[in-house]
Symmetry: C2
Subunit: 341 residues, 2 copies
């Protein structure tokens, strides 16, 4: 059995979407066992009509506090001992599950991952990584916001962890790696990207192909795309904002006249279908890599499908033993630098 | 007369688009006088059929070398003394024109601005600023790539220069200023944005409104949007890449069936018109602010219209004496820090 802990109370549509997503995932994969983290009364109520077979694969873990998005993450994780996020992270720390999934406060999920689950030996910083949709399929993009003021050696570790994930879980042989930069010429960049570029090209374990400009990220010009957290976050959010804006413009055009209104009726359905393809839902949430287990953060507005896919993708992560592979790869790293500065 | 120097040979469609843009701008604004920089024979040939009145407002400045995009910018500017970019920058330095416009090598234009035209007293770094189209109109976005590894005090100067431009040239009273960050909460950010945020809120001359997330840049949530060059460049290029990608997706949808093909015929014209609005053409190119004159870099694929608008916008910049206002605002700055490090 693959054991996965799920925060029942995190996200805008909790607990219903979370419970429904759990139901779908348990049906889709008979080797998954879920530890549902939240108030026992809510879980009992929401799963009361489930088939016995599904009920036999869930365990209720009582947690009656919720960390709100406006709370200070570190302080909340430390003091709200009975919050779903703190309890869920502890389940992974204790080895009772290989992954913890939450759609709750991003800051608290990241903090719980680092403070409770903890880093694998040799890992300097755990990056937040996400499979992003591109013109060519999907790329793993990291770091999306976990570690600001990055050092070049952290970026090198991100590249190695990302390569392991793409190869093992996404079955991409010799995944290409690129580093986000101002331009693709070697002499361009800031101090960080110049130093990281030189270091990345010396790592035999990865297939490093040099710089990528941010405009080419969405074109899928590499399997693993590495950036510092500030830049990665800026690019991801700019993509989101631009897509949202274009949809606004398009809607206004489609409604601007009688003929285009008729055309709109014809186009909207295939367009929505196409844009659904361009959605990260099927790939699960963002993953904090390099910890003693997987911590996955689903979007705050995660749907039933998002939660289900998060669970299914986490199962793949656990079964391929990505944590074990990262542990092995980083075993010889200098652990003296392995401290929070 | 407002004197403006124009690089005739820079850009993918030079010299024809450049000459045609000059023609349009001279017709649109009778108080503009252009110094056309390039091979005299080309200029003579291309303007031979112009009306005498227009000819009376151009001056040919011989420059028979071109700096290619793959040349090292600093070295090219220093050694190709007779290149259009070097000659054009010298025209501004000598006070023969208030602005120099080029669609040639970005690196060389930036280098010529800094090395030849030179900074105003007290200005620590000249940012590259551009009017970007947003859901609400236009915002001034800077720095878009001139100064990597920025310091907080540079960002403060960018905010002040940008505010002067928006107020004087774009006639926006008390323009709002925001700083790009990971999140809008005060405790979020990297070392640079945290320091800059604290400093910006202490500047009485500007209307600073705190952080902006990159997803809201395109929504036009501030008149002046400040970022370090690496982040600014990443956001701008991500917008470009995402827009390009969406157009690809949309075209594939519109062509996917007979009905949608018919719909496409109806929709493409209004859509293209709408997207044309979402184009920076009318606002001219990117401006290097804080120099002893304006240096404007037009896109490499600048059209006739882009060049004409660049000239017209430059005239506004000169007439409002933006350089004089920046000189005045920064006169009391500590000039000891005013060195290239």
């Amino acid at each position: 059995m693959t054991n996965i802990a799920l925060d029942i109370m995190g996200g805008d549509f909790a607990p219903d979407c979370n419970i429904q997503g759990a139901f779908d995932a348990l049906n889709a994969d008979k080797d998954i066992r879920l530890l549902l983290v939240g108030p026992a009364s809510v879980i009992k109520d929401k799963t009361s009509d489930w088939p016995e077979e599904l009920k036999s694969r869930i365990e209720t873990v009582e947690a009656d506090e919720i960390i709100e998005c406006d709370e200070s993450p570190v302080s909340a994780v430390r003091h709200k001992k009975n919050s779903t996020i703190t309890v869920g992270a502890n389940i992974v720390k204790e080895g009772r599950a290989g992954a913890f999934i939450s759609a709750g406060s991003s800051g608290a999920v990241l903090a719980a991952g680092q403070l409770i689950v903890g880093r694998l030996p040799g890992v300097k910083r755990p990056p937040l990584a996400s499979m992003i949709p591109t013109a060519k399929g999907f790329s793993l993009f990291l770091d999306l916001g976990a570690n600001v003021d990055a050092k070049a050696e952290w970026l090198c570790q991100f590249a190695r962890m990302g390569s392991i994930y793409m190869e093992k879980v996404q079955h991409k042989a010799s995944p290409s790696v690129k580093l986000v930069n101002l331009g693709v010429e070697e002499e361009k960049g800031n101090a960080l990207t110049k130093e990281a570029n030189a270091m990345l090209s010396q790592i035999p374990e990865i297939n490093y192909e040099g710089f990528i400009e941010s405009r080419d990220v969405i074109m899928g010009e590499a399997d693993v795309i590495v950036a510092d957290a500030f830049t990665g976050n800026a690019i991801l959010k700019t993509m989101e904002g631009t897509l949202g804006f274009v949809m606004q413009v398009l809607k206004s055009v489609l409604k601007s006249g009688l003929l285009t209104k008729l055309a709109a009726l014809m186009i909207m359905k295939p367009l929505k279908l196409k844009l659904k393809e361009f959605s990260a839902s099927e790939q699960g949430g963002a993953m904090l890599l390099g910890l003693n287990g997987l911590v996955m953060k689903c979007h705050g507005n995660a749907s039933r499908k998002d939660i289900a896919n998060g669970i299914l993708k986490s199962a793949g992560f656990i079964r391929e033993d990505v944590c074990g592979l990262i542990r092995e790869a980083f075993a010889k790293e200098n652990s003296q630098n392995n401290t929070v500065e």
